[in-house]
C-alpha cells in the first residue's frame, strides 16, 4: 500500500463518516458511537502519515515518473510539460501535519461536547461538522487552486448549516446574510482563479509559480494584478477579515458554543491556507505584503474596539476572534521567515484558545439560556472551577505568560521590530491590553458581580465531558506556552520556503 494515500484519507474519512451520519439521523446510539470514533481517528491520522505528496488518480508529473520519462524527446523534457502536474496534488509537510492535527483536535472537542450536551444528537449536525473539517483539511493540503475553491464553497455551506441547526433566535437571518455575501465573494474568487488559469494554463499552484519564474507569463501584467485583487477579496470572506468582520462575528454568535468553536477554527485555518497560497503566488510583488499588513491592522483595530462595546458575550468573543486574526495576518504580511513562523504559530494558538473560550463560556448558556451580559451575574458561585478555567482561557488570549499566545505574540512583536516596523509592535501590545480589558469586562459581568434577581439558573449539571475538554485545552495552552518549539519547529520549514 502506498503510505502517502493516508494524505487523502485525512479528507476522505470525515466526508465518508459525515455522509453515513446523515443517513443515520434519529438512531441516537449509533450516531454517538460513529461520531466519537471518527472524531478520535481524525487527529490521529496526521500523526501517522509520513510527509510527502499524494497524486489523485496516480497522475504523477513526468519528471517524477522514471518509467515514462525514459526515452522522451528533449522537446518534452526541456519544457514545462515535463514538470506539469496533470492531476490534483495534496502536499503534506510538518506544518500541514500540525495544523490538520490541531483542527482534528478541535473537531474532537466540539463533537465530544456536542454529544454530551445534547440529549438527542442529530446526525445531520454531526454531518455538517465533519464536512466542514474535511473541507478545511483539504484547503490546507491541496496544491490545486480550483480544488481549494470547491472546498471553500463546501466549507461555507457547512458553516451556514451549523448556524441554521443551532436553533438560536434570528439564526436563519444571519445564515442567509452569510450566504448572500458569499454569493459576491465566491464568484469573484473563482473569477480570479479563472484568470490565472487562462493566463498560465494551470490550476496547480506549483506549476503557476514555475510559469512566473520561467518568464512564460509577465507576473506584473494588469490581468494577473486583477486576479491577485479578486483572490485577496475571496480570502477576506473566507477568513472573516474586514469588510466581512461584522457578518463573521454574527455567524459565531448564532452558532451553539461547540459549533462556534469549530467555525472559528475553520476561519483561522482557511485564512492561513489561502494566505500562504497568496504569498506563494504573489510575494514577488511587495504590494501584496503591504496590503496584507494593512488589512490585518484594520481587522485588529475594528475587531477589538467593536468587541469592547458589545453586550452579548458571544458577540464579544466573535469580534475578539476577528481581531486576533489580524495578528496572524501581520505575521504573514511581514514576509520574513521569523514573522511567518510567528503568524502560523499564532494561528495554531488562536484556534485552540478561542475554542477554549467558546466552550467555556458555552457553559453559561447551558445553565442560563442567555448570552446577554446585562442579564447575567453571579455565575462564579454556580461553578467556580469552570469560572477559573474560563479566566485562564481569557488570560491565554490576552497573551499572559506562561500560556501559548504569550510566546506567539512575543515572536510577532520581535518580528515586527526586526522588520523595521516597531509601530506594529506597539499596536499589537496596545490591542493585547485592550483584549485583556474586554475579556475582564465580560468575565466580571458574568461571573463576579452579584446575581440579578430575575436571572434563572437551570438545574442541569454541566456535563463532565465539557469540563474535561476545557482542562485538556488548558493543558495544550500550557504545553505550547512552555515548549513553543514543538510548534515552531514544525512551522519553520514552511515559513522558510515562502521567503
Amino acid at each position: 500500500m502506498d503510505t502517502n494515500a493516508l494524505i487523502a484519507v485525512m479528507v476522505a474519512l470525515p466526508i465518508a463518516s459525515a455522509l453515513f451520519l446523515n443517513l443515520l439521523d434519529k438512531k441516537d446510539r449509533t450516531i454517538k458511537i460513529l461520531a466519537i470514533i471518527t472524531a478520535i481517528v481524525i487527529p490521529i491520522i496526521p500523526l501517522l502519515t509520513p510527509y510527502g505528496s499524494h497524486f489523485f488518480g496516480g497522475y504523477v508529473p513526468l519528471a517524477q515518473n522514471a518509467t515514462l520519462a525514459q526515452g522522451l524527446p528533449s522537446l518534452i523534457t526541456g519544457t514545462q510539460l515535463f514538470q506539469f502536474h496533470p492531476g490534483i496534488m495534496y502536499v503534506f509537510t510538518s506544518a500541514q501535519q500540525l495544523m490538520v492535527f490541531v483542527l482534528g483536535l478541535i473537531t474532537f472537542f466540539a463533537i465530544f461536547t456536542f454529544l454530551n450536551e445534547t440529549k438527542r444528537p442529530s446526525g445531520v449536525y454531526a454531518f455538517l461538522m465533519f464536512m466542514g473539517t474535511a473541507s478545511v483539511s483539504a484547503i490546507l493540503l491541496s496544491d490545486d487552486i480550483f480544488n481549494i475553491f470547491v472546498f471553500f464553497e463546501i466549507a461555507a455551506l457547512a458553516q451556514v448549516g451549523i448556524i441554521v441547526a443551532s436553533g438560536i433566535k434570528n439564526n436563519y437571518e444571519t445564515a442567509l446574510k452569510y450566504i448572500l455575501l458569499g454569493n459576491i465573494a465566491g464568484p469573484l474568487l473563482l473569477l480570479g482563479i479563472v484568470i490565472l488559469l487562462g493566463v498560465t494554463g494551470n490550476v496547480n499552484v506549483t506549476d503557476m509559480i514555475f510559469t512566473f519564474k520561467q518568464g512564460y507569463v509577465d507576473p506584473n501584467s494588469p490581468v494577473i494584478l486583477m486576479s491577485l485583487a479578486l483572490i485577496t477579496f475571496g480570502w477576506l470572506y473566507a477568513s472573516g477579515l474586514p469588510p466581512f468582520h461584522t457578518i463573521k462575528s454574527a455567524v459565531y454568535s448564532k452558532a451553539l458554543p461547540h459549533g462556534a468553536a469549530l467555525l472559528q477554527a475553520f476561519s483561522v485555518f482557511t485564512l492561513v491556507a489561502i494566505g500562504i497560497i497568496i504569498l506563494r503566488l504573489f510575494s514577488y510583488n511587495p504590494f501584496t505584503n503591504i496590503a496584507i499588513i494593512g488589512i490585518s491592522v484594520i481587522a485588529m483595530i475594528l475587531g477589538i474596539t467593536m468587541a469592547i462595546v458589545q453586550t452579548d458575550y458571544k458577540r464579544i468573543l466573535g469580534y475578539l476572534a476577528v481581531g486576533e486574526l489580524g495578528y496572524i495576518g501581520i505575521g504573514l504580511g511581514l514576509g520574513t521567515a521569523f514573522g511567518i513562523t510567528a503568524g502560523l504559530f499564532q494561528a495554531v494558538n488562536e484556534a485552540i484558545i478561542t475554542s477554549f473560550l467558546f466552550i467555556g463560556f458555552g457553559t453559561v448558556l447551558y445553565k442560563t439560556r442567555t448570552s446577554n451580559t446585562r442579564k447575567l451575574g453571579g455565575m462564579m458561585y454556580v461553578n467556580p472551577r469552570v469560572a477559573l478555567l474560563v479566566l485562564l482561557a481569557g488570560l491565554a488570549m490576552a497573551g499572559v505568560p506562561p500560556l501559548n499566545a504569550f510566546q506567539s505574540k512575543l515572536m510577532l512583536i520581535q518580528a515586527a521590530i526586526q522588520s523595521g516596523l516597531p509601530e506594529l509592535g506597539i499596536i499589537m501590545i496596545l490591542l493585547s491590553i485592550v483584549t485583556f480589558m474586554t475579556f475582564m469586562k465580560a468575565f466580571y459581568t458574568i461571573y463576579m458581580r452579584p446575581k440579578p434577581k430575575e436571572l434563572e439558573i437551570l438545574d442541569n449539571k454541566i456535563p463532565r465531558s465539557t469540563v474535561i475538554s476545557l482542562v485538556a485545552l488548558l493543558i495544550i495552552c500550557i504545553i505550547l506556552g512552555l515548549f513553543p518549539q514543538i510548534a515552531t519547529n514544525s512551522l519553520q520549514t514552511l515559513a522558510v520556503g515562502l521567503v
Partner: protein, 111 residues
C-alpha cells in the same frame, strides 16, 4: 472653556450617544475605552507613513488628529455603521472591493 470642560462635554456626549439601552458605568467606560483605543491605534499606524516620507507622515498625523477631534465621539457612529443590516454590509463589501481592486491594479502599475 477649560480643557477639562471640553473633555467632560465630550464624555457626556459619548454617554448620550452610546446606545438606546440604559446607560451604565460599564457601557460608558467601554465606549470611552474603545474611542481612545481607536484613535491611538490609528495614530500609531499612521506613523508607518514615515517609510514613504517623513513630511507626509507629519501632515497625515496632524490631519488624523484634527479629524478625530472634530468627529468625536467616533465609536457610537462606528457602532451604528457596523451593524447586522444587510444593506450596510453590502455597501462596505462593495466599497472594499473597489478599494482593493484599485490599489492592486492601478497602485502596482503606477507606483
Amino acid at each position: 472653556m477649560s480643557f477639562y470642560d471640553i473633555i467632560l462635554k465630550r464624555i457626556r456626549k459619548i454617554q448620550e450617544k452610546a446606545e438606546e439601552e440604559p446607560i451604565t458605568n460599564v457601557t460608558a467606560s467601554a465606549m470611552l475605552t474603545a474611542e481612545l483605543t481607536l484613535i491611538i491605534s490609528v495614530l500609531v499606524a499612521v506613523v508607518m507613513v514615515r517609510l514613504i516620507h517623513p513630511v507626509l507622515m507629519i501632515i497625515m498625523i496632524a490631519a488624523v488628529l484634527v479629524i478625530a477631534l472634530m468627529a468625536m465621539p467616533i465609536m457610537p457612529r462606528l457602532r451604528r455603521e457596523q451593524n447586522d443590516d444587510l444593506n450596510n454590509m453590502m455597501f462596505y463589501v462593495v466599497v472594499a472591493l473597489g478599494i482593493i481592486v484599485a490599489l492592486f491594479y492601478w497602485g502596482n502599475l503606477n507606483v
